[in-house]
Structures are given as C-alpha cells and as structure tokens.
C-alpha cells in the first residue's frame, strides 16, 4: 500500500459525506421500500443456506404429493371430500363457523 495522498483523502472524505448527507440508498423490492432486510443482516446471511435446504425439502414433498399421489390442490384430498360430506357440509357452513373460524381481540 502506498501512502495516502491528500487527493485520495479528499476524495474519500467527500464521498463519505455525500453518503452521510443523502442517506444510504434504501433497498427496493417490487413496489415496497424495505429499510432493513433480514436476509442481508449479518445473522440473516448465516441462515440463508439452512432456509434454502429446508425450502427444497418442502417443495420436494409438494412434487411427491403431485407426482406419486396426484394431489396438487386442497379440494382434491379424498379425506377433505369425506370430511365435508359426512360432517361439515361445505366451506363457511354453520359447522365450519362453529369449529373452524374464530374472532380476534385488540390488546391494548
């Protein structure tokens, strides 16, 4: 490394102050502006490979269900048909409302 010349110092200081004054460029994803992306934090970066490996496992299960069992979408599940025909009648029925739906409460 050579000596830092006055010119290099001024360049560096100038660039730094421009960044500080204008703010670091915010990251944009689609329409939303995200100020702090977990996947780019020091901890998030360490977890990416683990997340990807487990995602791959989950999509592998999706292909097994579709290729071997021929079941892609929820209404095709034979047990779902049985559950509704023997018990709950149809989605949003009275039975569904009683057992499968709920309400929420503000917590102040």
């Amino acid at each position: 490394m050579g000596n830092i010349t006055r010119r290099t110092f001024i360049k560096f200081a100038g660039l730094t102050s421009v960044l500080l004054l204008t703010g670091f460029p915010k990251l944009s994803y689609g329409k939303e502006i995200i100020s702090n992306n977990f996947f780019e934090t020091p901890v998030g970066r360490q977890r990416i490979n683990l997340i990807k490996a487990r995602q791959a496992g989950q999509y592998k299960d999706d292909s097994i269900m579709r290729e071997k069992f021929k079941l892609a979408a929820s209404h095709e599940n034979p047990m779902i048909k049985r559950f509704y025909s023997e018990f709950a009648h149809h989605p949003l029925s009275e039975v569904s409302e009683a057992l499968l739906h709920t309400h929420y409460k503000a917590r102040v």
């Binding site: 360490q46 509704y84 989605p91 739906h101």
Partner: protein
C-alpha cells in the same frame, strides 16, 4: 451438529386479564437466561416487535407486553442463552395413560427439520419415518397438512366471498365436487380487502397489539393447528376413531414457539362448546420440533432407522398445496391453486407447471407480489361481467427486524392505497421452516460478539 436449547416446565396461564394477556393465556414462553447473556444485542437485531431491552454489554430482558413468542431471538442467539417453555413431561405422562388417545398434530415444516436432531443434513424430508416413530411412541396421527387443506377450503372460499361482496354481489354460487352451493355474501361487505392470512400466531398477536385497526382484514379462519384440535375432538372422535371426545388429548407438534401461546387462547374451546362439554381445550399441549426429538430420545426411538415409505390414511392424507404451508408463499400458492380451480372450472393436472405459481414464493426476498390472471368459467363471466379476473397478491416473508419487511405493506393498507386482494404474512423469515421451535445450528461469532463474551467472562471472575 444441532445445539441443545434450555427448557423449563410449562404451567398454567395468567388467572385474570392483564396487559396484553387474557385470562388463561401463557406468559413468558420465551425467557432470557440471565447467567449466560453477554449482551451481544443479536436478539435485538432480529426481534420483529421491539420487545428486547438492555444496552450492549448488559444483560438483556424481554418486554412481555410486546413479545409475540416467535422465538427468533432464541434460534439466533449465539450463546444458547434463551430458553423455552416445554410440555414434554405432560405429553409423556399422557402417552403412558392407556385410556387416553394422544393425537399428534404434525406441522408441515417439522418434516423437513426433525431429521437434523438425529444427525441428518438440513432439509432431509422425513414423512413415513416420522409417522412410524410417532406410532411407535403411542401417538394417533392427525397430520396438520390435512388441516392445511381444511384451511384452504375455508380461507379460499372466504376470499372469494369477500371479492364477490366488494364487487357488489349479494350471493355467489360455488361448485365443489360437482355439487353446487350458493353462498350469501352480503355480510362480507363488512370484511374488507385485502384479506390477511391468519395461520401465523405470532403475526395474529402482532396485529392485536400493534395494529388492532386491521383486525377486520384478518381472515376469520383459525390456524390449521386449531382447526385440527377442534376437528379431532368432534368429527375425529366420533366418526374416525370412535372414542369419547374427553379421552382425546391433542398435541400440536410445531416448528413454532408462538403456537404454544396460541393453544392457550381462551376462545379455543370450540369443540367443548359444540359438544357442550365444559373445560375442554381444542389443543391440550404443544411441542416444538426440538421437544418432539426429546420425546423420541427419552423413549429410545430413532426415526431415521425406520422406513420412509408412506401409507397415508384418514387424517394423514394431504396435498401438495398443504405441505408448502411450511414455506413463505405457500399458503398463498395453495389458496391460489384452489381459487383458480373454482373460478376457472379447470382441474389441476397434478404435474402441470401451470399450477406452480412461482411468483408468489418468498424464497429469500423480504416481500414479493404478483398479479394472477384467472380465466373465468362461463357462469362467472356473466356474474362478474368480464372474461378474466386479476387476483393481486402479496407475500411478506418475515415481519422483519423491528417490522421492517411488513411496515411498508401495512402502511399502504391503512392509507387505503393497497392494490392487493390477499396478503400472506409469516413472522419468521423463510416461513415456518425457520421457526422458533426448529432445531438450532451454531451462529458464528463476529469479533464484536467474541469481545463481549470475553468481557462477560472477565466480569464473572
């Protein structure tokens, strides 16, 4: 090698409504272990709700009024200094009682992580082996993936009802399994769009504490775990297992620590209400993925030594749409597959890539959005007066550090400027697969953490 996480035995909930807790709810499911906390601040950088207090280098504490029990601090702590409430002892006692039918409700993300506790690579798919191990331990199985399919039927239909109501319709015909029903959708005028998913219990508590104005936007559907609990004790007990509802003990097996809280919510006694039995909870206990591994080890069961072949019957049957609930974008994709079928009248050919709605998959992006053009079947063309309906969806992949992923999306909704019909929110980045109840791997220490660790050590001397 996975890390060992400290646990403490769970007990009863709070006895009266107090602060952000209601009577019966469990408080303090996640706790910082004071002796080993070095104050490195890692937990604070991942906490979605700003619940962690304490300056750098000082012992940190959790503000329980703000904590949503997601456990992100726990899985990311470099010093294993955060502990979890556990119900392992309760469940093992029930397994020994032959008069009790102990039902394991296994979440989608458990099957891609539990193998790590037994030495396998991350992401190893464990379905047949997991079922066989649970049977060996004495559990009956209600795969939560079946409940995910129930959720899609209910939540997908709810979405169509909201869209119809806000298009000015009074009723909506829906054809399922060649049977036609006509839904009265007038009351859905009071359920605004966008509809938010309600599967993630940490997100639900987050809304209730920080954005109560958005409660009408939340889907009224229970999470799959709670649907499974209520169905087990009613339809399951009577029609499938032919036992008394009181003898059924339901155990959620979850990648999640917030599910422990969810099961304790006072309104989740709907099976008891339906059957007129007092004091019956829909879900009796919740184990995390780590806890289930502990149960297996205590009973000397190694699932990896069993056969992976699967023979699904009854509540073990599930679809591809259900299993992807474990990843960010999965609930959205499953709902879109279902809505696409209902609106277009087309059947998903299981293999067709047309039914891979990859645009909604979160992977490792903090927010994704997509517009899905759905060709309408003739009947709907007349009703909606158009040939195509465009469904606009958004997926928030983790609430993000102090809400960073979520806030821009929510602010648009509050300002009435959100273009979406349906928004999925999962608290944990990546979805449930990266949940607070999953096996923990070492977090590498930076220089700064090493320094604080050394400093904490020298203070002890």
């Amino acid at each position: 090698m996975v890390k060992k996480i400290k646990t403490f035995k769970g007990d009863g909930g709070v006895s009266v409504d107090m602060g952000t807790y209601r009577s019966g709810e469990l408080k303090g499911i996640i706790r910082i272990v004071e002796e080993s906390c070095v104050g490195c601040d890692t937990c604070k950088t991942v906490c979605p709700s700003g619940a962690i207090r304490g300056a750098i280098g000082e012992k940190h504490t959790i503000d329980l009024e703000k904590c949503i029990f997601c456990g992100q601090c726990l899985v990311n702590c470099p010093f294993e200094s955060i502990s979890q409430m556990s119900f392992v002892a309760h469940v093992i006692a029930k397994l020994k009682d032959k008069k009790t039918k102990v039902v394991a409700i296994i979440a989608p993300a458990v099957r891609v992580a539990i193998a790590e506790e037994f030495g396998a690579e991350p992401g190893t798919l464990t379905v047949g082996r997991l079922w066989a191990a649970l049977k060996k331990a004495g559990f009956e199985i209600y795969d939560n993936n079946f409940a995910a399919d129930q959720t899609i039927l209910e939540e997908g239909t709810e979405l169509l009802a909201r869209v119809a109501a806000h298009s000015g319709l009074k009723e909506l015909p829906i054809e399922l399994w060649s049977k036609k029903i006509v839904l009265n959708v007038e009351e859905f005028k009071h359920h605004p769009l966008p509809q938010f998913t309600s599967c993630c219990p940490a997100w639900v508590r987050y809304v209730e504490i920080f954005y109560p104005k958005l409660i009408p936007n939340l889907s009224s559907c229970k999470s799959p775990q709670q649907m499974a609990g209520a169905t087990s004790k009613t339809y399951g007990a009577k029609n499938i297992w032919k036992v008394k509802p009181e003898s059924v003990y339901t155990v959620g097996v979850m990648p999640c620590t917030a599910k422990i809280f969810e099961a304790s919510r006072p309104e989740f006694n709907s099976a008891g209400k339906y059957l007129k039995i007092n004091g019956m909870k829909d879900v009796d206990a919740v184990l995390t993925t780590r806890d289930l591994a502990t149960v297996f080890r205590k009973l000397n069961i190694d699932p990896m030594k069993l056969s992976e072949e699967r023979f699904p019957k009854d509540f073990m049957q599930y679809t591809g749409g259900a299993t992807i609930f474990g990843v960010s974008g999965g609930v959205m994709e499953a709902a879109v597959r279902f809505a696409f079928h209902v609106l277009s009248g087309q059947s998903p050919q299981a293999m067709s890539p047309q039914w891979d709605f990859e645009d909604v998959r979160g992977f490792t992006k903090p927010v994704v959005s997509a517009t899905i053009p759905v060709p309408l079947k003739e009947e709907y063309q007349k009703i909606f007066n158009t040939k195509h309906l465009e469904i606009k969806v958004c997926v928030v992949n983790g609430i993000g550090p102090d809400g960073a992923h979520l806030k821009p999306v929510i602010e648009n909704v509050l300002a009435g400027k959100s273009p979406y019909h349906f928004i999925e929110v999962m608290n944990c980045p990546g979805g449930c697969i990266n949940g607070g109840g999953q096996p923990c791997h070492p977090i590498e220490l930076g220089l700064w953490e090493k320094f604080l660790y050394a400093l904490a050590g020298s203070k002890k001397k």
